[in-house]
């Protein structure tokens, strides 16, 4: 993370002129604002910040920012970001995407990114549906949801993933839940995640008003957690057992050392030749 003292940035400085493709009322607008607000709160330099995403409605975000961006392929945002961060530890790297992108096609990378604990922040706009492909159930969709022509009658019958539990057990160093309807709260959680070393995971409940109209009601059921973040993973796990999915706030803040590959003993390529010469 590069702090800049010469210029003070505002959220507007991180927004590009590109008009989002999102439906009116989509939760992702608010998440975009929260991300740019978090960047401004941390006064990150846009040119030293990178936003990496996969594919989906939510994954459109990079082009809507004024940072370096990579709109990669479906499910691969975390690994592109990992390569970038390992090659360029000086940059602030934020990864953004959807529940399908991150937990289904990119599920393996999600596990290993938590485990690797590279210093970056992963914001998932979880709308419990595949928005971009028009309404199929995702790994976080409720078992009985069948309000779409794309879902089997009576729902999939499959228990949804609990992404926070997975992140916690796989080793993420910061685990939080946010709600798009509370943009300031979300911005604060994202900023805290960026500041926290290691892999930070923030699941943002971001309504898909087109395919999950009922998610408009989320604003009536979410509540801010009163308890301070757990610093002990087993304590956090216990809280998750009682969690109904609507508690907003930081669940867990760990102190695992973030991953840094071995580098640098100052040899030259010519030194490497020597081992082959007879």
């Amino acid at each position: 993370m590069t702090e800049c003292t010469a210029i003070t940035y505002t959220a507007k400085d991180y927004k590009s002129e590109v008009k989002p493709v999102w439906c009116p009322g989509c939760g992702d607008y608010a998440v975009l604002s929260s991300i740019t607000k978090a960047f401004a709160d941390l006064n990150l330099e846009p040119h030293n910040t990178a936003v990496i995403s996969g594919i989906g409605c939510s994954s459109r975000i990079p082009a809507y920012t004024n940072c370096y961006g990579f709109h990669t392929i479906h499910g691969r945002s975390l690994v592109v970001a990992t390569g970038l961060k390992l090659a360029r530890p000086d940059l602030t790297v934020l990864v953004a995407g959807g529940d399908g992108d991150g937990f289904s096609i990119g599920g393996n990378h999600f596990l290993h990114s938590c485990r690797r604990n590279v210093d970056m922040t992963y914001v998932v706009m979880d709308n419990r549906v595949y928005g971009m492909t028009k309404g199929q159930p995702s790994p976080t969709t409720e078992a009985d949801w069948d309000a779409s022509a794309m879902a089997p009658p009576g729902g999939t019958g499959l228990t949804p993933f609990n992404p926070l539990a997975i992140a916690l057990s796989a080793g993420a160093n910061f685990v939080a839940r946010a709600f798009a309807g509370d943009p300031n709260g979300t911005a604060a959680l994202i900023a805290e995640g960026i500041r926290h070393p290691g892999f930070s995971f923030i699941a943002v409940m971001s309504p898909c008003v087109t395919f999950r109209e009922e998610q408009r009601d989320w604003k009536n059921v979410v509540r801010k957690t009163e308890t301070a973040p757990a610093t002990d993973a087993s304590e956090a796990a216990k809280r998750l057992l009682q969690d109904d999915g609507y508690n907003i706030g930081v669940l867990y803040k760990g102190d695992r050392r973030s991953y840094k590959p071995v580098t640098g003993t100052g040899k030259t390529v010519a030194d490497l030749d020597a081992q082959f010469a007879l």
Partner: protein
């Protein structure tokens, strides 16, 4: 294997060149294995027609190797009488059979081992001074284990003595001077070529027969300030490389066919977003998991055509162990200069074989990644500007004013997603012409000799083709060798020149379906052409190509 390695080291010390391949069964460790060694006073890039000396310490599971060990009446088979009869598949060649009781002789020396008896016997037979062997033993054993050293020297000497009564075999010609040579495998060479080309980042997932590239880079990259990561799978490794490259670090990954199959979507992203990356595919027998430990030239199609969409990219192939160094370095240079993915098609038989080769030259290429600088006040940076060459300057993140979003979606010059026909025409044209318009120089192929006959080949088949062409020349048939190093984009003009005056061509490739031949026919104007092809893993022997050339030349 230990004895073969020592034979190789001794021959290297004495001034010879060598090619050392190994054939092992599917076992993870131990089990039967054959060491295939060819020594010469001249550089060697091919296996020979037959095996001159076959020494069997035992005959366990020899049927697994029989096809890889061609024998004839001129060969000598050295066998240990305590290990049973020479198997019929071997004996029927008519080879001379000589007995050497390696087990029993070794027992006469406290701590003596049969493989050292074997080593001594072979050195004696081919005329490699025993001193060079004992010196090699000294280097590897003397300090660590003096008793093992004494026992090994005694065993080598005993083996040499026993070989005195075995009659004559072909001996190595004496060498007077010791040219500058390297001992290297193709996989180590690919690793070295990568760092010579400027690679500072590698993410990879282990796979036979590419693992040694990763093994070498794991040690080498940190030494020069670079980064190596073992990824969770090939989807991760290629995408990490693209991410690192986006960040400004020239990146490489290495894999084999199954891994390349997983990587194709990300290669398309590298291509569309113009983020350079290099993938080395050390080919194994395919399809599917195929034969992981053996060679084939059958990933050409996936390398050329594996990506969806119109996807112009770079494909190169080394044609010898030493060329793995050059071609991988070149691949990095091309990928970086042209901001495109480059696939290096190596092969198991290059990657996992060791060569004593002429010391490779230090090559420096002039091109490099064109780096964008901050635009002037009030100007907008265009990441995908339509330049004359088609290459547009690429910024390193951190450069103020050059922020852009790299995208696999089709885009405008500034990089914004676009589904408009005009943008698609302009950008697809840009991505094609930057490759076709590039000056690749003489590196596109290895072209040797002149004549009305040509052998057109690629990769590991080149060594045998070279020897066949030389033999044909000795028979009065003028033939030339054209071995393609640049497979994509094609070079019709350069090929036209190489084929000037050629009336007939023989295409040689290790692919059952003739992938290379079909590719040549699609991309090039060819003279009357014949095809010599088959599935792997048996390498072409020079005489197979030679006899076809004789027939084509009317002899």
């Amino acid at each position: 294997m230990t004895a073969a390695n020592m034979l190789l080291d001794a021959a290297a010390d004495a001034g010879y060149y060598a090619l050392f391949g190994r054939s092992a069964g599917p076992q993870i460790r131990g089990g039967e294995a054959a060491a295939l060694v060819r020594l010469s006073s001249e550089p060697v890039t091919s296996v020979d027609d037959t095996t001159e000396i076959l020494l069997a310490i035992d005959w366990q599971n020899v049927h697994r190797f029989a096809a890889e060990l061609p024998l004839d009446a001129k060969c000598v088979i050295i066998t240990d009488p305590t290990q049973g009869d020479v198997p019929e598949v071997m004996a029927k060649s008519g080879a001379r059979i000589v007995e050497l009781p390696m087990k029993d002789l070794a027992k006469e020396i406290p701590g003596g081992r049969p493989n050292m008896i074997a080593l001594g016997a072979i050195c004696q037979l081919i005329g490699l001074p025993i001193d060079t062997v004992t010196e090699v033993l000294g280097k590897s054993l003397k300090k660590k284990r003096a008793d093992a050293y004494e026992a090994s020297v005694a065993a080598v000497k005993k083996g040499a003595e026993a070989a005195g009564s075995m009659g004559t075999t072909k001996r190595l010609p004496p060498v007077s001077d010791k040219p500058l040579r390297w001992s290297i495998t193709g996989n180590e060479g690919a690793g070295l070529g990568a760092v010579r080309g400027g690679v500072t980042f590698c993410a990879a997932y282990p796979i036979t027969p590419a693992t040694e590239i990763l093994e070498w880079l794991t040690g080498a990259l940190p030494k020069i300030g670079g980064t190596f990561v073992q990824a969770e799978d090939e989807l991760a490794s290629i995408n990490m490389c693209v991410g690192a490259s986006f960040g400004g670090a020239p990146s490489i990954t290495a894999t084999s066919g199954p891994g390349l199959a997983l990587m194709t979507e990300a290669l398309g992203m590298s291509l569309a977003s113009e983020t350079p990356v290099v993938v080395v595919d050390v080919q194994r027998g395919g399809p599917s998991t195929g034969i992981p430990t053996k060679s084939e030239q059958s990933d050409l199609n996936i390398a050329l055509y594996g990506m969806h969409g119109d996807a112009p990219h770079l494909v190169v192939a080394p044609n010898s162990i030493g060329d793995c160094i050059f071609t991988t370095q070149w691949a990095v240079n091309l990928a970086e200069t042209l901001q495109a993915p480059c696939i290096v098609l190596s092969e198991q038989s290059l990657g996992q074989s060791r060569g004593i080769i002429p010391a490779p030259a230090d090559v420096a290429f002039t091109g490099k990644r064109s780096i964008a600088q901050s635009p002037a006040e009030g100007e907008t940076f265009k990441r995908y500007a339509l330049t004359n060459t088609g290459v547009s300057p690429m910024p390193v993140p951190g450069t103020p004013g050059c922020q852009y979003t790299a995208d696999g979606l089709e885009h405008t010059e500034t990089g914004l997603p676009s589904s408009q026909a005009g943008d698609h025409f302009a950008q697809t044209d840009k991505r094609l012409r930057k490759l076709t318009g590039h000056e690749y120089g003489d590196h596109w192929a290895t072209v040797e000799g002149e004549g009305e006959l040509a052998v057109i080949t690629w990769g590991s088949s080149t060594g045998a083709a070279r020897e066949a062409v030389e033999r044909a020349r000795a028979d009065g048939i003028k033939a030339k060798l054209i071995s393609l190093r640049l497979l994509a984009p094609s070079r019709p003009e350069a090929m036209g020149k190489a084929l000037a005056g050629v009336k007939k061509a023989l295409v040689v490739e290790m692919s059952q379906t003739g992938q290379f031949h079909k590719y040549l026919r699609a991309e090039y104007d060819l003279p009357e052409t014949q095809l010599l092809n088959r599935a792997g893993p048996l390498p072409f022997r020079p005489h197979e190509i030679h006899s076809r050339l004789l027939a084509m030349g009317g002899k």
